[in-house]
């Protein structure tokens, strides 16, 4: 990577953004917590009954216990891994889908391929999000991945539209014309010559969708359409809806505060990325 490249410049601009760097450090901290959960270093005892009902905060139960005596701290820490799992799976898959379909639509703009993809985007936009997710969840009959599938199926549309617009601009550039004229196959042009030039959009979109997925998970879990097997901040908040009016706030606070920290930091990273990568953005 040369110092004058877009990425080199962006990296230096990002490094100067103190708020962005701080947010990145926070996200990295959360990620380490999640890695620890995946390797079983901590919080593996989240389903165990280690106390009695609604114990207050103590040295052995840092955030107290829930209604059946499970440790809330362990559950909240374990949920960090779930959040990363949902966020990463949805963001990566939806970005990839949006990139490929958006690029094909843009490259073949005006042909039936473009018409078809734009029609699919319009259809997905016209169905209200939560109805769609609920419908997918019930159509897949409670499959563990139905929530992920539904989010991926709707989230890619925004990225797809952006990439389509960018590719329409890029395909008229001279270097693409040059590739055409020496007989480079069209799929090679799309994947080797055009898509890499949209990666700054993809990076920002992926970070935006990561946040979107974590936030959607909470609401879907409350509606009974979320995580089936495991523990998540959404499930903890859902559990807390029955407790807060009785004056028991530990579940609610633990999940909300941890989730707010990650989402806030990720939002700040996404903003800093956008500032660093988009030369046209006025701030």
């Amino acid at each position: 990577m040369s110092a004058g490249s877009l990425w080199g410049k962006a990296a230096r601009k990002f490094a100067r953004d103190r708020l962005g760097m701080l947010a990145l450090a926070v996200v990295a901290g959360y990620f380490l917590v999640a890695v620890g959960v995946w390797f079983g270093w901590w919080a593996s005892g989240w389903p165990d009954l280690t106390g009695s009902k609604w114990e207050p905060v103590s040295a052995s139960h840092w955030f107290g216990t829930n209604v059946i005596g499970q440790d809330i701290f362990d559950r909240a820490i374990y949920s960090t891994a779930t959040a990363f799992e949902v966020g990463l799976v949805v963001a990566l898959a939806a970005t990839a889908l949006g990139a490929v379909l958006g690029a094909f639509a843009g490259f073949f703009a005006g042909s039936w391929i473009d018409d078809l993809i734009v029609w699919v985007m319009g259809v997905l936009d016209a169905i209200p999000f939560y109805l769609f997710v609920a419908a997918v969840a019930f159509a897949l009959a409670g499959n563990d991945w139905s929530m992920h599938a539904a989010m991926i199926a709707t989230f890619w549309v925004g990225t797809g539209r952006l990439i389509r617009g960018e590719v329409i601009k890029l395909r008229g550039m001279e270097y693409v014309e040059a590739a055409h004229s020496i007989g480079v196959p069209e799929t090679t042009i799309i994947f080797r010559h055009i898509l890499p030039n949209t990666s700054h959009i993809l990076l920002v979109q992926a970070s935006v969708m990561f946040v979107g997925a974590i936030k959607a998970e909470v609401i879907l879990s409350f509606l009974g359409l979320g995580i089936k097997d495991g523990m998540s901040w959404g499930l903890m908040i859902d559990e807390s809806t029955k407790e807060v009016l009785a004056g028991f706030y530990n579940n609610f606070l633990a999940a909300s505060v941890l989730m707010f920290g990650l989402v806030m930091a990720f939002n700040a990273v996404a903003d800093a990325l956008q500032d660093a990568l988009d030369p046209r953005k006025v701030s």
């Binding site: 029609w119 997905l124 209200p128 419908a135 019930f138 159509a139 509606l223 809806t241 939002n267």
Partner: protein, 316 residues
């Protein structure tokens, strides 16, 4: 005349979209959706009874026949009766106004407050007030809707908080009742919207404020208020119209779903969610197809509004 021609052409162009939406929703919600056979049968049904009910529901028909039947119902706006026996159109006529008066105050306030905060931020761009407002906006965007709802409920409706408003439920028989029940949902809706709206309005305002013609107008010594209304706000109308218009279908149905299920308010969102969970097909058909039609109408109306605010736009 030009307008009429244009609208008709656009309406025809919207047909593929309606077909797509109904096809996807038919496949997901009805064809692969929950099987209602055993809901309608008593305990220990005989195989003949099962067969009879499946025939009534049309489960023995091929996909395309059932889908065409679905389309016929949309064209004639005759969706039959919900599982409670109530005609679907009556159910919608009863629940739609509830959703509207529930969601509208929060929607409008979200836009108004967002616009005010964006104006202040854009006017003092780069100064501490701008930074403070934008920081508040990011904080607002980072809190989950559900957390906001629970938070306001604790603060305003619980015995640990101010205990001013009812915890849940709905009653709009008098204006005073309406106000007590609508306040907490409205505050939550507004709170969630403000972060996004502030960022949106600020970004378009900043873009328009830094245009050359604004600088020129200022150089000619035109009053600030006039520059703002004529040279800045007027040019911002197109993105604003787009944003408001395209949130209408979502606000009318999707947006109310969480609020309505949380507070137990009998609106369209709750009725639809219950219909999905129980597989009440007539309700689903009606809601999804009406949303799709609303979406197409919104697209057409948006284009016509563009024409009204920007003479450079032609209706082709």
């Amino acid at each position: 005349m030009e307008l009429l021609q244009y609208s008709l052409r656009k309406l025809l162009g919207g047909i593929p979209l309606v077909i797509g939406v109904t096809l996807v929703s038919f496949a997901l919600m009805v064809y692969f959706g929950p099987d209602q056979t055993y809901l309608l049968l008593g305990k220990n049904p005989t195989p003949e009874q099962i067969l009879e009910v499946r025939q009534q529901l049309g489960y023995d028909q091929p996909f395309i026949t059932r889908y065409l039947g679905f389309l016929r119902e949309i064209v004639t706006l005759d969706f039959g009766a919900a599982s409670t026996g109530e005609p679907v159109m009556d159910l919608l006529a009863k629940t739609m106004p509830v959703s509207l008066i529930l969601i509208l105050p929060g929607f409008i306030l979200g836009h108004v407050v967002g616009l005010m905060m964006a104006l202040a931020a854009a006017y003092w761009r780069g100064r501490w007030l701008d930074k403070l407002i934008m920081a508040i906006a990011v904080v607002g965007m980072s809190i989950s809707f559900l957390i906001v709802i629970i938070g306001f409920q604790i603060l305003l409706s619980s015995s640990d908080g101010l205990d001013l408003f009812p915890v849940r439920g709905w009653n709009a028989s008098t204006f005073a009742d309406y106000l007590t029940y609508v306040t907490v949902p409205t505050l939550a809706t507004m709170f969630v919207a403000v972060g996004y709206e502030t960022r949106f309005y600020r970004s378009i305002l900043v873009e328009e404020m830094s245009r050359d013609h604004v600088r020129t107008a200022r150089a000619f010594g035109l009053p600030e208020s006039r520059i703002f209304v004529r040279n800045i706000l007027k040019n911002c109308l197109i993105p604003i119209i787009t944003r408001i218009m395209f949130s209408i279908p979502q606000v009318a149905i999707g947006g109310a779903l969480l609020i309505e299920s949380y507070f137990g308010i009998p609106g369209v969102g709750k009725a639809t969610y219950e219909a999905i969970v129980t597989g009440d097909q007539p309700v689903l058909k009606a809601v999804v197809s009406l949303t799709a039609i609303l979406f197409v109408l919104v697209v057409i109306l948006t284009d016509i509004l563009y024409r009204a605010v920007d003479p450079r736009v032609t209706l082709k």
